[in-house]
Amino acid sequence: MFENILFFISSFLVLGGATMVVLSKNLMHACIFLLFTLFGVAGLYLTLGADFLAAAQLVVYAGGVVILMLFGIMLTGGTENKENRFGIEKIPGMGSVKTYIVAGVSILFIATVVLKIIANYMRHYQQTDLPEYMTTVERIGHSLLTDHILAFEISSILLLGALIGAAMIARPRKS
């Protein structure tokens, strides 16, 4: 019962947030709606029994990525809807009617293909008994440090490389 309510609230947040990220004309508002979508995905993780992932999603995305995006928006001219300065066709930064038509046609094409695959799969799917909810933190920790230790270490090297690379790329240069 409770998980159904949480599922409906979360799916409303996900669908509404994703729609508004597509349609919003203001870049700052799109970023805030992305935050709503990420909260909704965290709620969906909770209904799926993934407590550690929900917490990681909230900490990393709401605390890290969205704040970083907001900094990026504010450092690069705010929410001005500028056209391109070079080139012949001037298209505003947040998209014109033409680009939205192109996007609509292509997602219609992809939607028919993907929904066909999902429908074919759902016809042959039988719902079995779901496992009980239980905490996954211990199992995730055990699995990360035994079976997936190589990927764990490589991801730490990846994060170090991303840190140094981002600092190198964005440093101010004299010229």
């Binding site: 729609t19 995905v41 990393v60």
Partner: protein
Amino acid sequence: MVTLGSYLFLSFALFVAGLAVIIARKNIIAMLLGIELMLNAAALNFVAYTRFVNSNIDGHIMALFIIVIAAAEAAVGLAIVIRFFQLRESIHIDDAAQLQN
């Protein structure tokens, strides 16, 4: 009744929204928002299959690595955007049409 299909449909809607953002927008930061949406759709699929089909923990591990890689990608992508803004004073994707000078 909440089944696997509802999660698959939500993930599909997220992916389509991200794709529409990437195609329709011409602002580089807005396109990065679309990439975040698509990565979340993939991670949601992994976790849904973990609960409904097999109950081992590998899908959770995969979603965790997707979150890590999304964070790294956002940091490096925004650094590139800021550098591009220093050079060209623009964050329009069509202004990035030259390899040198």
